[in-house]
Amino acid sequence: MGDGNVSLWLVMVAGGLVTFLTRLSFIAAEGRIAVPRWFRAMLPFVPVATLTALVVPALLRPGGTWDVSVGNPRLIAGIVAVVVAAVSRNVLLTIVIGFAVFLVLHWVL
């Protein structure tokens, strides 16, 4: 546990450094370097792809094993949340409704 906390702090400092250096990159280069066009064109897909890759296994493989059934509260609540997000585009509403559905199913099933 002690080791885990040490490595967590190391990861945090490394993650902070990476974030800072990314933000500093072109500012430090004083605008002399132009952003390559392919790099700029790929950026819009970064959050969509990364966050989707995180979400989908959390819904379909909770705890690391497949569970594609109506008895999987995470899957059902996740699908409801996707619909709410698509219709309302409201972050808080999506989280609140998704969590409410999840809690009800979690306790019923």
Binding site: R23, G31, P44, F45
Partner: protein, 237 residues
């Protein structure tokens, strides 16, 4: 708030600082709930309160902090966690490029401080002002950045306090995937984005058994590249 065009070119540092703070203030309404949710789920993922709080100033990037909380809960190795943060934060290089010429004349210390404060929200609030003339306009970005920084620290602390008082049996870890769903779904507005999400989802499931959560990185890269290729193909460039 002044309309951007009505701001005189030569304002004092204090006036610029205040202008930046006022431009950012409305965005705090959207940011504060994220800070609270982050604080709650960080504890739920097993991150100690002190580390969860420190992360808000050391990393100081909302989506990266959520990502780190999720990966810490999954027990991913440090290298994968840092690589994921680097990937998610790539967009900040674009902000950096966008503000670089306005900050070119500043001493290094200023550049370092403003780079640290260059979040999505501070960039959004200050980019219009930075595009205009004004020798003190970097104070505008400082005002916006410090306002967001303060709001993020306060809301994170509130979340940590709240998280510590919630019952342990409440399965709050599910708030993380829900938050990601709430962020991602409204982003899917083009064929390229839809394909990127679909490829990332399929690849993430196929590679879910890979060690060290490497499947996550592979799936993200696959989604990014295929989404980009589809968008390129669609525009014929």
């Amino acid at each position: 708030m002044d309309p951007a065009g009505a701001i005189p070119a030569s304002r004092s540092p204090a006036a610029e600082l205040r202008g930046g703070a006022l431009a950012l203030a409305p965005l705090l309404v959207g940011v504060a709930p994220f800070g609270v949710i982050y604080g709650v789920v960080a504890l739920q993922s097993g991150i100690p309160p002190a580390a969860a709080m420190a992360m808000s100033s050391v990393v100081f990037a909302g989506s990266s902090q959520f990502l780190l909380a999720q990966l810490a809960g999954l027990g991913a190795p440090g290298v994968v966690m840092v690589a994921s943060v680097a990937l998610v934060n790539l967009r900040h290089a674009l902000y950096s490029a966008s503000v670089a010429s306005a900050l070119e004349h500043l001493p290094r210390r200023w550049k370092a401080i403003l780079a640290y404060l260059l979040t999505d929200e501070a960039y959004a609030a200050a980019v219009a002002r930075l595009g205009e003339d004004g020798e003190n306009r970097h104070w505008f970005l400082l005002g916006a950045g410090l306002t967001l920084w303060s709001g993020w620290q306060v809301s994170t602390a509130a979340g940590i306090l709240l998280g510590a008082s919630l019952p342990r049996e409440l399965p709050l870890d599910f708030a993380l995937p829900l938050t990601f769903i709430a962020i991602v779904v409204p982003m899917i507005r083009s064929r390229g984005a839809l394909v990127a999400a679909a490829v990332a989802a399929g690849a993430a499931l196929l590679c879910a058994g890979w060690p060290y959560q490497l499947g996550l990185l592979a799936a993200a890269v696959a989604g990014i590249v295929v989404g980009w290729l589809v968008a390129r193909w669609g525009t014929g460039t």
